[in-house]
C-alpha cells in the first residue's frame, strides 16, 4: 500500500530555503528598480519552497490517484474517451510547432498555416460543410461561435430574431450558449424515444401540454433565429427526422445548428451538410482522440454552410497557388486573411488551441478516410455489444437503435434500493472508471455507456461481466453497494459541505 500513502498539499511541505529551479548567471547589469514603491512585489503567501525531487515526487504520487484512458476502459458517455496515441503527443511537441510565435509574419509560419488549412479540408469533407474555423478553444466555445454566426446572418438580413429552440434532451451548454449570444431559449420537448417532438406532448403526470416543433414554428415563425440540436442525440439515437426538422425551420428562415459533440458516431457514415445543417461544432478531443488532460485543453472547430461563411471569425487562412511551369506540381503559399468586413470578429486571442489541432490532424492522417469510417463502425459495434450483453440486467429506457453509446436506467436496481450512484461507485472497486451518470436528464437514473472503438472484446467482456455481477449484487447485497467504493483511495465525498462552506484555496494555518 506504499503507493496509496496520503500525499499532502505541497504548501504543507514547504521548507524555507529550498528551490527546484536555478537561474542562468545574469550576464547583463542587474535590473534597476523603476517601479513605484507601492507596486513593488511585497511577497507571497503560498508559493512553496521545494526541491526538484520533491516536486517530481509530489506530482508523481498525485498522478497515481488518477484514472486515465491507459488504465482501462473509460466509458463516459458523450464525453468519449478513446485511445490517445503517443504519436500525436510526439508530433505536437516538435520544436518547429512549439517555438513558433503567433505574431510572426505569415511567410515564417507556412508550416502552421498549411497544417491549419489541411485540417480544415479534412473537416470540410467529413462534415460536408464548406466553411471552417478552428479557433474556438472548446466545444462550448464552438457553440458560442456558431450561434454568433447565426446572429450575424440574421442581422445582415436586417432582422435580429430573438429565439433559439433547444430540445430538453440537449447538452446543458446549449441553453447557456444561446443566452450568452443574446437569445431567449424556448425548450423543445422530446418524445419517449428521445427524439424531437413534432406534435404537442401531454405530460402523463400533470396533464400539462408542451408545444411541439410544429406548433412552435407556426407560433414563433420569424422570431426563431435557429435551433440547436444534438445529433446523434444524448441518448445515442440519430434524430431520424432531422431533414424534416431542418426543412421546417428553413421554411421560416431559421437556421439549424447541430451540436456535433457526438460526431464520432457519424464520421464516414453520414454528413451533416447533407441533411440540412447550417452550422455545427466538433469536439476534437472526442472525435479526433486528442487527450483531455483532466479537463482540457480541447478544441471546438465550427463548420458552416456557404450562407454563413462571410461571418466566420477572423483571421481566415487562405491558400494561394503559385504558378509553375507546365506539367509541374503547383506550389502553394498560405496567409491569414484579416479583411473580412462581415466577420463576427475574433473569438480567441490568437488562432485557437493550435497544439491540439496538430494532434487532430495527426489522428486524421493515421486513420485516413478508410480508418475513420472503420473507427466509427467499430465504436457503434462496441456500444451495441454492451447493449446486447447488459440488456435485461439493466433497463433500457429507450429502445431505439443505439449508435456509439447506450443509455440504461437504474429502474430494475432501484427496486432493491440500489441506484445509479451505487452502481458507479461499485465499478470503481472493480477497477473501472464509471460511465456518465444521471445524464441525459430525460432518462431516470441514467447510466450512459460509451466504450469507443478503442476497446477489444476482452476489455468489453470484462466490463460487462462486472456490470452483470453488480446487477446480481444489487439483488443479494444492496448494502455492499451502498458502501462502495471501499477500495478507492478515498470513499464517497461530502459534496454538500464542499458547496455550502466552500474551501477553494489553501491558507497558512
Amino acid at each position: 500500500m506504499f503507493l496509496r500513502q496520503r500525499e499532502p498539499l505541497s504548501f504543507d511541505r514547504s521548507v524555507s530555503g529550498k528551490r527546484g529551479m536555478d537561474l542562468p548567471k545574469l550576464d547583463v547589469p542587474e535590473a534597476k528598480d523603476t517601479r513605484p514603491a507601492h507596486l513593488r512585489r511585497s511577497g507571497f503567501d503560498a508559493l512553496p519552497e521545494l526541491s526538484e525531487v520533491e516536486v517530481i515526487r509530489h506530482f508523481t504520487r498525485l498522478s497515481k490517484w488518477n484514472y486515465g484512458v491507459d488504465d482501462g476502459i473509460y466509458p463516459l458517455g458523450s464525453c468519449t474517451m478513446k485511445h490517445n496515441p503517443r504519436l500525436n503527443e510526439k508530433v505536437a511537441g516538435l520544436p518547429g510547432f512549439t517555438d513558433s510565435h503567433p505574431m510572426a509574419p505569415d511567410a515564417l509560419v507556412q508550416g502552421n498555416l498549411e497544417m491549419i488549412y489541411t485540417l480544415q479540408e479534412w473537416l470540410k469533407e467529413i462534415t460536408g460543410l464548406p466553411g471552417v474555423t478552428l479557433q474556438p478553444s472548446a466545444g462550448a466555445a464552438g457553440e458560442l461561435t456558431g450561434v454568433m454566426l447565426i446572429r450575424a446572418y440574421h442581422v445582415s438580413k436586417g432582422a435580429k430574431r430573438r429565439v433559439i429552440l433547444i430540445p430538453d434532451s440537449g447538452h446543458g451548454t446549449n441553453p447557456a450558449t444561446a443566452a450568452m449570444a443574446g437569445y431567449e431559449v424556448v425548450e423543445l420537448p422530446s418524445l419517449p424515444d428521445g427524439t424531437i417532438a413534432f406534435d404537442d406532448v401531454t405530460d402523463p403526470v400533470n396533464g400539462k401540454v408542451r408545444k411541439g416543433l410544429r406548433t412552435l414554428v407556426s407560433e414563433l415563425g420569424t422570431e426563431i433565429a435557429g435551433a440547436m440540436i444534438t445529433n446523434p442525440n444524448t441518448v445515442g439515437v440519430f434524430e431520424y427526422r432531422f431533414k424534416e426538422v431542418s426543412d421546417l425551420l428553413h421554411s421560416v428562415g431559421a437556421l439549424v445548428y447541430m451540436d456535433g459533440a457526438n460526431m464520432n458516431a457519424l464520421v464516414g457514415v453520414a454528413r451533416p451538410g447533407d441533411f440540412g445543417v447550417d452550422v455545427m461544432h466538433l469536439n476534437l478531443h472526442k472525435t479526433m482522440s486528442t487527450p483531455h488532460g483532466g479537463g482540457g485543453p480541447g478544441a471546438g472547430p465550427v463548420c458552416c454552410g456557404e450562407n454563413l461563411m462571410p461571418f466566420l471569425p477572423v483571421p481566415v487562412v487562405v491558400r494561394d497557388t503559385v504558378k509553375v511551369g507546365e506539367g509541374e506540381v503547383p506550389r502553394h503559399s498560405y496567409r491569414w486573411d484579416w479583411k473580412r468586413p462581415q466577420s463576427i470578429g475574433k473569438v480567441h486571442t490568437f488562432y485557437g488551441n493550435f497544439g491540439i489541432l496538430v494532434r487532430a490532424l495527426t489522428y486524421c492522417l493515421s486513420h485516413g478516410s478508410d480508418g475513420l469510417k472503420e473507427a466509427t463502425l467499430r465504436a457503434i459495434v462496441n456500444a451495441n455489444y454492451i447493449r446486447a450483453r447488459l440488456k435485461g440486467a439493466y433497463a433500457l429506457h429507450i429502445d431505439s437503435p443505439s449508435l456509439h453509446e447506450v443509455v440504461f436506467s437504474d429502474t430494475l436496481q432501484a427496486k432493491h434500493d440500489v441506484h445509479t450512484l451505487d452502481i458507479a461507485k461499485r465499478l470503481i472497486d472493480h477497477g473501472y472508471h464509471p460511465p456518465t451518470i444521471y445524464f441525459p436528464l430525460i432518462v431516470p437514473g441514467a447510466l450512459m455507456i460509451e466504450p469507443t472503438e478503442s476497446e477489444d472484446k476482452g476489455e468489453l467482456d470484462a466490463f460487462c461481466d462486472t456490470m452483470l455481477a453488480i446487477a446480481k449484487e444489487a439483488e443479494t447485497d444492496a448494502e455492499a453497494l451502498h458502501q462502495a467504493p471501499t477500495l478507492a483511495p478515498l470513499r464517497r465525498m461530502d459534496e454538500t459541505t464542499a458547496a455550502r462552506k466552500p474551501v477553494l484555496r489553501w491558507a497558512k494555518g
Binding site: L47, W65, G68, P297, T349, L372, V503
Partner: protein
C-alpha cells in the same frame, strides 16, 4: 489499424452476440437517404512512420530563430525538464474531467493547488480551474463584472489592453444590445487618467486596464483605483505576461477588485498561440458569480481530506440558460504545467526570473537606444517589454534580422496608428547578452534611409 484493437475473429463474435451480420446493419437508425453513399474523399490511412514524416515536414516549414525579440502576448521562457516529464505521464494527460472524485484526486488536488497559487499571485481570494486564454478570460471577467455590478451596463477598456483581447471582447459584447464597451485613451503609454475620469459615470460596471499593458508599461493600479471606486465601479487588472507577478505587486493588493489574463508564461511554449492559460481571480464576496469550474476541499465518508468539483449550481447542467457562463471545460493540462512550474520556482525562483527579465529588457533597451535610428517614445516603468520609435526602414530592419535568424519585435503600426514606426521589443531570461549584442550589430548595419 493500429488503434483499432479488435481482430476480425473478435469482431465476428461481437456481431453474432448483437445478432447482426454486418456492422452497417447497426446504422438502421440513420435513414438511408441521409447516409453517405461513397467513401470520404481523403487520403487513406498512413503508417506511424509516414504520418510522422508528413507532420515533421510541416513543422520544418516554419522558420526557426536563434532568438525571438517578440512578445506581444506570447512569451518564450525556459521550460524546466521536469514539466514535460511529469505532464507526459498518462495519468495526467489521458484523464478526463474529474467527475468521479474518488479516482480523480490527482487532477482535483492539482487544481486546488493551482487555485491557491493563482490567488497568491493575484492577491485575491478566489479563482477557478482556469479559462481558455487571455482574450476569452477578459470576456468572462467583463460579463461577470456586469453581473456583480447589477444594473450597470458599461465596461471601460483601456486602449493599453492587448488589441486582440479588445477584439475578442467586442465580438462577445456585440450580441448584447444593452451592454457597452467604451475605450479609454492612453497618455505616455498608460491609461489616460483624465479621459478615464471623463468617462466614469453611474453606468460603468468595471474598468479594465493592462498590468503591464500591451505596450509593456506598468499601469499604476493604485492611482486608478481611487477614481474607479469613487464612481462605484470595479477595477479589473489584465495581465498578459504573468511572470510580471514576480516583479509587480499583486493586483488585489494594489487596488484591483478582479484580476484576469494570460498565464502561458508558466511552463509553456508559444505554440503559435495555443493552448494557453486564461486566469481570473476575484474577491470572496463574488465567488458565486465566478464562471467555469471550481475545485473545493472536503472530507470523504471516513473523514479523510479530499477534493471535488464544487459550486456547480452556477453551471449550465443545473442552471442551463441562467448559468454564469457556458464554459464547461478548462485548460487542465496547461494549468498543470503552470502549477509544476510555480512549485519548482518557488518565491525566490519567480522573483529571480522576473528580475532577470527586467534586467534583460532594460539592457536591450539601453543598447538599442545607442543606435542612431532608435529613440524613446514614452517613458513609463516597464517589465520585459517596451516601445521604441524606429526612424529607419521597417522592412529593411525586418529583413536584416530574419537573414540572421533573429525575430525582431512587433511593428506597432498594425495595431496602433499613433505608434506608426514604433516597435514593441521583448526580452526574457532566454536572451543572452550575446544575442542582444548580435541584434544591435545587425541593426547598426541596416541602411539608415530608404
Amino acid at each position: 489499424m493500429r488503434y483499432l484493437p479488435s481482430s476480425p475473429v473478435e469482431d465476428r463474435a461481437l456481431l453474432d452476440t448483437i445478432g447482426v451480420a454486418r456492422a452497417e446493419e447497426l446504422l438502421a437508425g440513420i435513414p438511408e437517404a441521409l447516409r453517405l453513399k461513397r467513401d470520404l474523399d481523403l487520403p487513406t490511412q498512413g503508417s506511424e512512420q509516414e504520418v510522422a514524416w508528413e507532420m515533421m515536414g510541416l513543422a520544418n516549414k516554419n522558420t526557426r530563430f536563434c532568438a525571438q525579440f517578440l512578445g506581444a502576448g506570447a512569451y518564450d521562457h525556459f521550460v524546466p525538464s521536469a514539466i514535460d516529464a511529469m505532464v507526459s505521464r498518462q495519468e495526467w494527460f489521458t484523464a478526463y474531467t474529474p467527475y468521479q472524485p474518488e479516482i480523480s484526486q490527482g487532477t482535483l488536488q492539482h487544481i486546488f493547488e493551482y487555485q491557491t497559487l493563482i490567488c497568491d499571485l493575484a492577491g485575491l481570494d478566489v479563482t477557478n480551474a482556469s479559462l481558455y486564454d487571455g482574450g476569452t478570460a477578459c470576456v468572462e471577467t467583463a460579463l461577470m463584472a456586469v453581473r456583480v455590478a447589477k444594473k450597470r451596463n458599461t465596461v471601460l477598456v483601456s486602449r493599453g489592453l492587448h488589441p486582440l483581447y479588445r477584439e475578442v471582447l467586442k465580438t462577445n459584447f456585440a450580441p448584447h444590445d444593452d451592454l457597452q464597451l467604451v475605450e479609454v485613451g492612453l497618455k505616455n503609454g498608460v491609461t489616460d487618467l483624465a479621459d478615464l475620469q471623463a468617462k466614469l459615470n453611474g453606468d460603468v460596471a468595471a474598468v479594465m486596464v493592462g498590468y503591464p499593458n500591451f505596450l509593456g508599461a506598468v499601469e499604476d493600479l493604485t492611482a486608478l483605483a481611487g477614481p474607479v471606486h469613487a464612481a462605484g465601479a470595479l477595477l479589473v487588472s489584465v495581465t498578459q505576461e504573468a511572470l510580471a507577478f514576480g516583479w509587480l505587486e499583486a493586483p488585489g493588493k494594489a487596488g484591483a477588485d478582479m484580476a484576469c489574463g494570460e498565464a502561458m508564461s508558466f511552463g509553456n511554449k508559444p505554440t503559435f498561440g495555443g493552448p494557453f492559460l486564461g486566469f481570473l481571480a476575484v474577491k470572496d464576496a463574488h465567488k458565486r458569480e465566478i464562471p467555469g469550474r471550481v475545485v473545493g476541499q472536503t472530507k470523504d465518508l471516513e473523514g479523510r481530506t479530499g477534493y471535488v468539483l464544487t459550486l456547480t449550481a452556477r453551471e449550465q447542467h443545473i442552471r442551463r440558460d441562467k448559468a454564469t457562463s457556458n464554459i464547461c471545460s478548462n485548460q487542465g493540462l496547461v494549468a498543470l504545467r503552470a502549477n509544476i512550474f510555480l512549485q519548482l520556482a518557488g518565491p525566490e525562483g519567480l522573483r529571480g526570473l522576473a528580475e532577470q527579465n527586467a534586467a534583460k529588457a532594460q539592457y536591450l533597451r539601453q543598447r538599442l537606444l545607442e543606435l542612431p535610428d532608435m529613440e524613446p517614445v514614452d517613458d513609463p516603468p516597464f517589465f520585459n517589454e517596451f516601445v521604441l520609435r524606429y526612424r529607419g526602414d521597417m522592412a529593411a530592419l525586418q529583413e536584416a534580422c530574419l537573414a540572421e535568424s533573429l525575430l525582431p519585435g512587433l511593428d506597432l503600426g498594425r495595431f496602433y496608428p499613433e505608434y506608426e514606426g514604433c516597435i514593441l521589443w521583448c526580452a526574457t531570461e532566454l536572451h543572452t547578452r550575446r544575442m542582444i549584442e548580435s541584434l544591435v550589430e545587425i541593426l547598426a548595419r541596416v541602411p539608415a534611409t530608404v
